[in-house]
Symmetry: C2
Subunit: 281 residues, 2 copies
C-alpha cells in the first residue's frame, strides 16, 4: 500500500541536527545549526549554545518577547532567511491550551520548529461506497503548495480564535459556506507530525472535522486561494493518494485518517497498522 509513502513524507526528521528553542526556559521548538548561526547576529536576543537556543530571559512578558522577536524577524526577512511574510501572528507556547508565551509571524514558525495548529475539514456527500469527497485545487499563485489538491476547507490557527470560530471563518472564506452550515462540522480527531520541508521544520497538529454537506451545496471560493472544487468518489481519492503526490502533504494524512475512520481501509490489509500509528506523534 503506497499510501505509506504519504506517511513517510511526514516523518523526515533527524533530531540530532536540531537543538531546542526555548522561551522562558521552556522548550517550544527546534532550531538547526544553520539557523542558530544566523541568530548569532542578534546576541542580545538569543543565547546560543550547542545544546539550545534560548530567548533572552530578560524579556518577561508576551508583548516584550513578541516585539523583540518581530524586529529580528524583519531583519531576517530583509536578509532573505524568512520568506513569504504573511502578517499572521501565530501563538508560541508549550501547550495548545496554555496561554502562549509570545507570538511569531507565521512565515518564521518553521525556522524555529514551533508547533503550529490548523483546522482541516472533510466535506462530503453520500455514504459507504457512494461517498464523495469535495476536493479543492489550490491556486497556482499560493505561497505554499501551489496547484496541490486540498480539502474543501482548511486553514492555519491564528491567535485569538477558538478552533470552531476558525472553522466558521475559513468555511466562509474558502468555500462560501454560511455559518449555520459550517457549525455542523463535527470534530473527529487529529493528525500530528514533525517533518522537514523546504520552509523549515513543520511541527504541526491538524485538527480534523467532518461535515456532511447537502447535495445542493456547491462550494465557491471567496479569497482566491482555491482555484476550483470537484466531487471525488472516495475510491478515487484513495487511488490517487496511493499513486501520486498531488494532494498537499498534510492533506493526504487527514484524508488517510478519513479513509480509516469511515472503513474505507481494512485492518486485514497489510500496512494498516503502520498507517494508523503513523498519523499521530
Amino acid at each position: 500500500m503506497s499510501l505509506l509513502d504519504r506517511i513517510r513524507t511526514c516523518q523526515i526528521w533527524d533530531r540530532a541536527r536540531y537543538r531546542p528553542f526555548r522561551v522562558a526556559g521552556q522548550s517550544v521548538g527546534w532550531v538547526t545549526g544553520d539557523v542558530a548561526q544566523r541568530l548569532r547576529g542578534f546576541p542580545k536576543l538569543f543565547r546560543i549554545s550547542d545544546a539550545s537556543v534560548d530567548l533572552d530571559p530578560g524579556l518577561t512578558s508576551f508583548e516584550a518577547r513578541s516585539e523583540a522577536v518581530a524586529e529580528a524577524l524583519l531583519a531576517l526577512k530583509a536578509e532573505g532567511l524568512v520568506r513569504g511574510w504573511r502578517n499572521e501572528p501565530y501563538p508560541v507556547g508549550t501547550d495548545f491550551y496554555a496561554p502562549p508565551l509570545m507570538q511569531m509571524e507565521r512565515a518564521a514558525v518553521p525556522l524555529f520548529g514551533v508547533r503550529a495548529y490548523g483546522v482541516h475539514i472533510n466535506g462530503f456527500v453520500g455514504e459507504g461506497e457512494d461517498l464523495k469527497l469535495w476536493v479543492g485545487k489550490r491556486a497556482a499563485n499560493k505561497q505554499t503548495a501551489p496547484g496541490k489538491l486540498d480539502h474543501i476547507v482548511a486553514g492555519g490557527q491564528p491567535m485569538g480564535l477558538s478552533l470552531m470560530e476558525n472553522v466558521i471563518k475559513e468555511s466562509a472564506e474558502e468555500a462560501g459556506m454560511e455559518a449555520a452550515l459550517a457549525r455542523q462540522a463535527r470534530p473527529v480527531g487529529l493528525v500530528s507530525y514533525i517533518t522537514e520541508r523546504s520552509e523549515g521544520l513543520r511541527n504541526d497538529i491538524c485538527f480534523a472535522y467532518d461535515i456532511v454537506l447537502p447535495d445542493s451545496f456547491v462550494p465557491h471560493n471567496t479569497d482566491g486561494e482555491i482555484e476550483s472544487f470537484s466531487l471525488w468518489p472516495i475510491a478515487e481519492v484513495r487511488r490517487r493518494m496511493a499513486e501520486r503526490e498531488d494532494f498537499k502533504f498534510n492533506v493526504a494524512l487527514v484524508n488517510i485518517d478519513f479513509l480509516i475512520r469511515h472503513g474505507h481501509l481494512s485492518p486485514d490489509e497489510p500496512g494498516y497498522v503502520d498507517l494508523a500509528e503513523g498519523l499521530r506523534l
Copy 2:
C-alpha cells in the same frame, strides 16, 4: 479532564527494566530481569544476556519453536509463573501481516511482552446527543478484569482467523449476533499501547469497529463471559470513564477513541491533544 487518567494507566512502562525478547534474531517482545532469571532454568532454549533474551537459533521452524516453548511454558505453569492457562495459541512475530515466527499460549504472552491483537466493537443506536452505547458487564468469574464494564463484543485475535472472521465469531459468542448483522461492523481505526499490568507487559493493538444496531436488537451472551448488557447514553459513558475506573483499562481507550471520532469531545477542551495522541503508540 480526568479521562487522561485512563490514558496514563496505559502508559506505565519503564523500558530500562526490560530487555528485548528475540526470535530468529528479530525483536518480538520485552522481558524483565525477573522473568529472564526464571528462563535460566531452560539454558538450551533461551540464550540470556543483560542485553537480550534470544530463543535458541537452532530452532528454525514455526513448529519447532512453538513446541519447544510450549514445553517450557508447561513447566513454568507448574511453577506458578504462567497463570490462567487458556489453551489459546497466539501468533508471535514482528508484524501483524507477516507470517508468525511461532505461536505461544495466550496466558504467557504478557510475560514475554509479545504484541497481541484484539477486535473491539462499539455497538450503538441513535446519533448525536441521543446516541446510546451498548455496555457489557463482565462475568464475576472471568479470569481477567472480572466484573468490569466492557464493549458489546471484544476478543483477542487468535491464530488462523482474519480480523473480520474474528468479529463474526466473537459477535455470535458474546452477544448472540447473527453473521449477517455482525458483518456490518465497520473498521474505524485502532488503539495501541505498551503498559505494565499484574499479568505482565501488555503490548497490544486493539482494532476498533463501529456497528449501528437496530433498535430491536438486544444482545444475549452465549459463552458465559458477559453477565449483563445495558444501553448507556453516550454522555453517561463519558462521565463514568472520567470519574471511575470501572471500564476495563483498554475498553476505556477504545471508548475515548469513539468519543473523539463521533465528536463527543471538543478539541477546544483542554487535554484533547494529549488524549488523542495518547491513544496510539
